[in-house]
Symmetry: none
DNA sequence: AGCTAATCGAGACGGTACGTCATGTCTTTCG
DNA sequence: CGAAAGACATGACGTACCGTCTCGATTAGCT
């Protein structure tokens, strides 16, 4: 059930224009931030007519989303990827989240990622696409890792995996979005440790 | 350290214009959503010259924030309020969060609240003001309730209260912002139960 | 000296496409008027690719001109036609001019004819083609009739025939183009009578 | 009965912007001709926002017309002017028409005047304004001169003055618009002489 | 009570961007 | 292989807002 119209991609479509647009979109987003990002600017930076953008993307948000999807996953298939599994769940989660935090703290990614999140917060259609094509698959990977942990007896049987993912990954995103506080490795560790404490199986009552 | 310039509020300022503007801002935000909200529209809806807005607020975000702050706390002092404390921490948290969820699900509040969050995500200065004047005080109330619970032995001594607040309240906000899934009472209960499990003191090893 | 490039008319050219284009051009001109007449619209109304138009006509004006030339003279050869000659010059001219006026007043012809005249006023190359292929031949017919009148002693010997044609036919076209006043049979009669008074041979001084 | 909406000219209107726009309009019209004349170009040449043009003029034609009206009559009141009257009607008419022809042949005036005429041919509303504010007053001057001639016994009593004006002035305009032939002093003389022959009182029948 | 200066509503101004339409060229697909 | 279909870069359209700026006309607060 595709929720967001995505380019039908006729064979006549110019692939070079497409790439130039996606690249320009990300570049400008990281230079200018959401508010000053304009279709007009993207078109001119990409050396492309505005109509070529309007022809293939229904909104600035959809374009930004496509740019993220295309340029950040470049070749690698999300479906095939997986979270690290060393057997130590806490360590693995900290590894992943520290990488995330590093990315979020990278000024090169900060602005465009905020722009994308703003669009997602604003536009329900885009939010649906985001869940379906980006967040959903990633969440699946996370749940897969947690399922493995559960099989290894490291997770309580009755824990809802979606809730578990929310507890583990939500706070970091939140703190970044709202700038509630600094995004440090320490914070990551605290979140993982505390959340995992609630997710571990109850020790057999003494 | 006041981060966001707030109206110096000379005595000559027209209070009727101020209220009309704040009201119009919230009303239009809930009618139109963030993207179509314009200073021009607010001025005309409030029956006010544009300059009167630009004179007192430095940005659309600051105005929106002021509107929230003024019209939603109307008289009641945040500092004096407190979270319910029946002695049952889980029940109290569920009560509060269910009320929050109900508000977030109310179409009358959805759009303007999204608008405000978008501004906060976008503008660091506004985010600072938001933390200082809205989110900060509320977080203090939450921490106060958790402190009481800790005194009552319902919370581990070594838990960072900010992390605790993040684990308890973050996931709900996240799910609403990103529309990851439906915001139901069941979800609230699961989050509270699971998070609290990790926050409770470790039972003496058997 | 052919001034306007006219279709070389290769034998491979699709005659059905040609007719569809010319017809669509005239139809749309009469529906929309000059300003809203577009190549794009003509192509789509004719069920034809844009390139097929650009291949055979150098400009919108040339196409419009061709449409007029082809569809209004349809078969009848301008060279063979002639103005009526009943022996009564004034009556013959009034007959012809009243017919002209009727056509100009016909809403079906008004808009496309204005469109053509606008192109002629604007584009010297098209004006040349217009003189050579449309206005010129017609003017020859008019002069021929006047020559006959001169032979019959109804016209002064020293009158320049081009000036005569201008005096007789110019005012009507002018009044139509500029909407200086209503185009009526009475006006036609007045113009013919007054102009002819100046064109007739001077009576032998008494 | 004002037919064309003309700027209400509120007191807040910037006169410097107005003049810059009118000047730029004429200048660009004479540089580029009708087809390439754009509001966008005029705005930018005048150093003015597009909206400032759209605020005060309803169409490109109305602007062009206003530019002509304002900049060519500059101060001098059309109502007060008059055609020369030396007592010799033919000579006076030739004087006036030769001046007209000279202007029409001036490349500086050719293009903008064609642009104006194109708009007039195209747009009935503009044509009405043109008749009311430009052509009408001028025609009145011409008729006034002819009336004087009639009083002096140089014109037949039964001649319709409008028809007379059409016969005398129409052919020159026509030849210019349609480029039927060169606009020379000789042509002017021929037209005046021939037309006047038809307008003079019939000599008492011998 | 009258004066003066800040504030008000209104809205024009130079701009930027919007999203649409048409231009004339080029490329792909089909009959 | 020619014609339809239509993508492309370009550029103008007319509109909406931006943030600044002037206008009188209120409307305080201070002589």
């Amino acid at each position: 059930m595709p929720t967001q119209k995505v380019a039908p991609d006729s064979s006549r479509r110019s692939q070079s224009a497409r790439r130039a647009i996606l690249t320009a979109a990300l570049d400008l987003a990281s230079e200018l931030g959401y508010a000053k990002l304009s279709i007009e600017g993207i078109a001119s930076a990409a050396g492309v007519g505005k109509q070529t953008i309007y022809r293939w993307w229904p909104s600035k948000g959809a374009l930004l989303f496509d740019a993220f999807l295309t340029l950040t996953t470049e070749g690698q298939d999300v479906g095939e990827a997986a979270l690290p599994d060393t057997g130590d769940l806490a360590a693995d989660l900290k590894t992943v989240l520290r990488a995330t935090v590093e990315e979020l703290n990278d000024p090169r990614y900060d602005l465009p990622m905020r722009a994308l999140h703003i669009e997602v917060v604003h536009d329900p259609a885009l939010a649906a696409a985001y869940q379906e094509r980006l967040d959903g698959p990633l969440r699946e990977l996370k749940k897969e890792r947690l399922r493995a942990a559960r099989r290894a007896g490291q997770l309580a049987e009755d824990v809802d995996l979606d809730v578990a993912v929310d507890l583990l990954f939500g706070p970091i995103l939140n703190r970044w979005l709202q700038r509630t506080g600094p995004l440090t490795a320490e914070y990551v560790d605290q979140v993982v440790d505390t959340a995992l404490r609630g997710l571990r199986p109850t020790p057999p009552a003494g």
